[in-house]
Structure formats: C-alpha cells, structure tokens
C-alpha cells in the first residue's frame, strides 16, 4: 500500500489542490470563511449558553471553543469523506486509480482548515489569559488520533454511501445526536457519575475532553484517556480498511 501511495503522490497533491480551491471558489471572502465561520458559531453558542452553563465557570468561552473546534472538524471531515467517492464517480468509473486517494485528499483539505482554526484557538486562549505551557505540545496526540479516526469513519461512510444514498440523511441526524452527546456547551459534572462514564463511549467526547484537560484545566490527561483516543482511532481505521478491502472493487458497480 505504501508503494502504491508513493506512486500516486502526484495525483494526491493535485486532488488536494483541487478540493481546496473548489471549496472557496465562489465566495467573496474565500479562505477567510474557514476562520470566520467557526468564530461566528462560537459567538452564537456563547451568546445562547453562557448564561445557562457558563455562569460559575472560568474560561467558558475556551471550553466552548474546544468542543466546537473538534466537533466541527469531525463533522466536516467525515461528511467530506462520505461524499468523496460519489463526487469523483466520473473519474473512478473511467480510470484505474486507488479509491482511498480521493478520501485522503478530501481529508487533507479539511485538516488544513482545522489547523488554521487551531491557530485562531490559541489566539483566543491568550486573550482569555491562558498562557502557553509545554503540556500544550501534547495536543498533537489527539489531533493525530482525530485525523486517523476521521479517515476511518470516512472510509466506512463513503463505502456505504455508494450503496445506500440514505446514509447521508441518517448521518445528518446522527451527527446532531452526537453533538448533544459530546458535551460541547455543557459540563458533565452535573450528571451522576455512572452516566458521566457513558460519555467515554463517544470517541468525539474523548478527543474534546483531552483538549479541555490540557487547555482549560492545565493538567496532563490520564493514561486511560490516552488509551481511549488511540484505541478509537486505531479501531476505526482498521474497520475502514477492512470495508475498503472487502468492497473496493465493487464500488464501480454502484457509482
């Protein structure tokens, strides 16, 4: 697989460029939107929820930003991944190229967005009086895990999306549910302890939690949380690869 990827590096670069360019083609602000849109979301969320949940909490805006940042990236990357095969069907049904290339290129262009947003996030931290600590470098772990996790989810979704177009609608509902289950704008402390533990079944919550422990609480996450983040990423990637391996040559019939 590595060899074939090296061989298709050029294609990968060109596809990534294409995806990135097309995204902002017709908007006036162009890439500015990738910064502006999460900020506006943050503004709305904090206007609505600050008085409900953030009254006796320090750094509530940052807390909110953590959740929205990671959840936003998860949603964008997986939705893009889901569409990647169907969107490129004109190519896939005509030319023999590895199908995962389309998924990866789409993921990379959302990753670039995400990285820009992380930059904005750090600026907000500074404004809110959170200074950069060395523990911040640990954030690379959840970021890498989330990237892998998103690729795995994208693989599974794109495979099923080829076959069932209904997946797209179901996934919209599912992401909405996931948003409420990820404790983006509330804290789980208000819930009973065994219910709190249920949140760890949600991978997105684990990634968000990791960010919050480091940035908001200023602590180092437990080993258990590390294991969860890495475990979820590995699991989904393996599942995704199995799906592609099993269905890879059948996509053409369904596109």
């Amino acid at each position: 697989m590595f060899n074939s990827f090296k061989q298709h590096m050029f294609l990968f670069e060109e596809l990534t460029k294409r995806d990135f360019k097309k995204k902002y083609k017709r908007s006036v602000l162009g890439m500015g939107w990738s910064i502006l849109s999460p900020l506006l979301q943050l503004l709305v969320l904090s206007l609505v929820f600050k008085h409900f949940f953030g009254r006796n909490m320090e750094h509530y805006t940052i807390y909110l930003f953590c959740g929205n940042l990671l959840y936003g990236y998860f949603k964008e990357a997986t939705k893009g991944g889901m569409n990647s095969l169907v969107m490129n069907k004109a190519i896939i049904t005509k030319i023999n190229v590895p199908k995962y290339i389309f998924l990866l290129s789409k993921n990379i262009s959302s990753l670039i967005n995400f990285l820009i947003n992380i930059g904005v996030f750090f600026v907000f931290c500074l404004v809110d009086g959170i200074c950069f600590k060395w523990s911040f470098t640990l954030l690379i772990i959840p970021v890498v895990c989330l990237v892998i996790f998103n690729i795995g989810v994208g693989m599974i979704l794109s495979a099923f999306y080829c076959v069932f177009k209904d997946v797209s609608y179901l996934y919209d509902i599912f992401t909405m549910l996931l948003m409420y289950m990820s404790a983006i704008f509330y804290t789980v402390d208000i819930l009973p302890l065994n219910l709190q533990n249920c949140f760890y079944l949600n991978p997105v919550f684990c990634f968000i939690k990791y960010f919050r422990v480091i940035v908001v609480d200023g602590m180092i996450p437990s080993l258990g949380l590390h294991a969860l983040c890495i475990g979820y990423a590995a699991l989904l990637l393996i599942l995704g690869c199995i799906t592609y391996k099993k269905m890879g040559h059948k996509f053409v019939y369904y596109l």
Binding site: F10, L15, R18
Partner: protein
C-alpha cells in the same frame, strides 16, 4: 510474451439490488420475502491475447459489452469470472471529456489528468507545452475548463493521452475528435503512436477505420464473443453483412461465407451504380443533335489515337 491476456472473462451486473431500490424498499422486500436480484452478463467467456505492437479492433452493435470489456482491461472493473493480465501502463481514452473538472483551469486540469494517468510532476512539466501546443489551446490556458467548447475539451484529452507515450492505449470511439484540421492531425499522430510499438485497442463503428488501423479484430454480440481473428478484412466484411441481414455466423467458415456474400453485395451495388451512370450517359447522347454528335465522335477518336 503477450502484453494483454484476457482469459475467459465474464462480467456480471446486478439488477434490482439495493443500489436500485434504496434502503426502504430493500427492507420491505426482504421482509416480504420477494427480494430478487436479476443478473445481467455484459460479457460472457471472452478470451484473447495481444502481443506487443498489436492493434485490436473491437466491433459490435450497441450494448455488445465493448465498453465494459475495456473497463476491465483498464483495471477499473474486476471481471466476475476469468482473468485479465496487462503489462505496462495503460492510457485509457474512455469517453474523453469525463474526469475533467469544470471549475479548474485548463492548466490545472492538464496536470490533474496527467496525474490520473500515472505520470510524475517532472514528466508533466516537460510535456506541458507540447500538449497545449498540440491541442492548440495556447490562448485558453487560464480559462476555467467549463468555458471551453466541447471540441476543445476533447482535443485536450486526446493530446494528453497521446503525448505521454503509454505502453497500452485504449481508444473508445474517440478517433473522430475536433474539426477537420485537428481530425487529420490526430489521425496522423495516432498512426505515429501506433507505429512506435504501442499495443492498442480500438472500439469503432467505422469498419474502414478498423481495416486501416488494426491487425486483429474481436467481434462481440450481446456479451458473446463471436470471433477473435487476425483476418480483419473478412471479419469486418462479415460484420457489415450481419448489420444488413441480422444473421450471426455460427462458425469460421460462416464468417468467410458472409464476407463473400458481402463482397457480392458490394459488387452488385457498384454494378448498379455503374449501370445507372451508363444509362444517364445514353440519355444524354440521345438528346444531342447531329453536329455535336459529330464533334463528340471526333473527340473520342482523337482520344483513342492517343
């Protein structure tokens, strides 16, 4: 050593499975127990081998399974049964303009297509000017691709596929691209590429083209392989006869038979044409007066003496 080896290939499409009917109907039909898949074999037991430098013409009516077979050879599809072995890189010209992105510029699309065909950036850097010059699109390099005319789009696709020196080239009804001038240029380029030892497969409905370019021919009909032969002349003629009489040959002798019948038919048509012309001439002579008849006579005699 054969470059392309197609061994007893069959390709099956499924009809009526969940791709067709959606998840709701799928569940309902599964529950009711009347969920049914029908099979459709696009190709059945197709076998042939091509050596280096061979040019194969695939002929057959619409829906004969030609394009599906090409997809299999270019690696887009896997055969349901049998095997396909291809050596070297394949430049497939299946429906030229597909796979381009309307929003990107001509420049970006050229690189994207080159990447899809498996070439490196360095190679595309060195070929880019030639490709654009051949496609005659120098003034359009920074235009969005969707603003080009469809002829220009095909010209670009043709230029990319031809100038990159593939080992195997697959052409699906693409040899009549562009306007008159470009058609001639592309035809010559094609002949040049083919004489360079490339192995090629050509799908065409123009028998004259097949006879000119190919040294082997494969005849498909509704997925069945009618014949694979290097007697291009006979098979194409038999095919032309089939198009008129709708009668399939059942053996190799039959093909020769059909080809002869076609010869007879062609000769008869030519005879009739000749006769018609003669009759026209006679009628013309009848209308002439004595003086002009005399001068015509003198002209003919003069001509005979020469």
């Amino acid at each position: 050593m054969s470059v392309i080896k197609v061994d007893d290939v069959s390709i099956r499409y499924m009809r009526g499975d969940f791709r067709d009917i959606g998840i709701k109907d799928y569940v309902i039909k599964k529950l009711k127990g009347n969920y049914k898949i029908t099979e459709f074999w696009a190709d059945r037991h197709v076998s042939f081998t091509l050596e280096k430098g061979d040019m194969l013409g695939i002929i057959g009516t619409n829906g004969a399974g030609k394009s599906t077979l090409l997809k299999c050879i270019s690696g887009v599809m896997r055969p349901t049964e049998g095997s396909v072995e291809v050596e070297g890189n394949v430049a497939a010209l299946l429906e030229l303009a597909s796979g381009f992105d309307g929003e990107l510029t001509v420049y970006e699309n050229t690189y994207l297509r080159g990447a899809m065909l498996g070439y490196t950036r360095e190679f595309m850097d060195s070929m880019y000017d030639k490709i654009i010059a051949f496609a005659e699109l120098e003034d359009f390099q920074d235009r969005p691709f969707k603003q080009l005319s469809s002829g220009m789009k095909s010209r670009l696709a043709f230029s990319i596929a031809c100038l990159v020196n593939p080992d195997v080239i697959i052409l699906d009804e693409v040899l009549s691209v562009g306007d008159g001038g470009f058609k001639e240029k592309s035809g010559n380029k094609m002949k040049e590429v083919l004489s360079g030892g490339v192995t090629g497969i050509l799908v065409s409905h123009t028998m004259k083209q097949v006879r000119e370019l190919c040294n082997k021919v494969l005849w498909l009909n509704k997925g069945q392989q009618i014949c694979f032969s290097d007697d291009v002349e006979a098979v194409t003629k038999a095919y032309e006869e089939f198009l008129i009489t709708k009668k399939l040959p059942s053996s190799i002798e039959d093909i020769e038979d059909l080809a002869k019948k076609n010869d007879v038919r062609v000769a008869r048509i030519q005879n009739r044409k000749k006769k018609l012309e003669q009759e026209k001439l006679f009628k013309l002579v009848e209308t002439l007066d004595d003086a002009s008849l005399q001068s015509l006579h003198e002209l003919v005699e003069e001509h005979m003496q020469k």
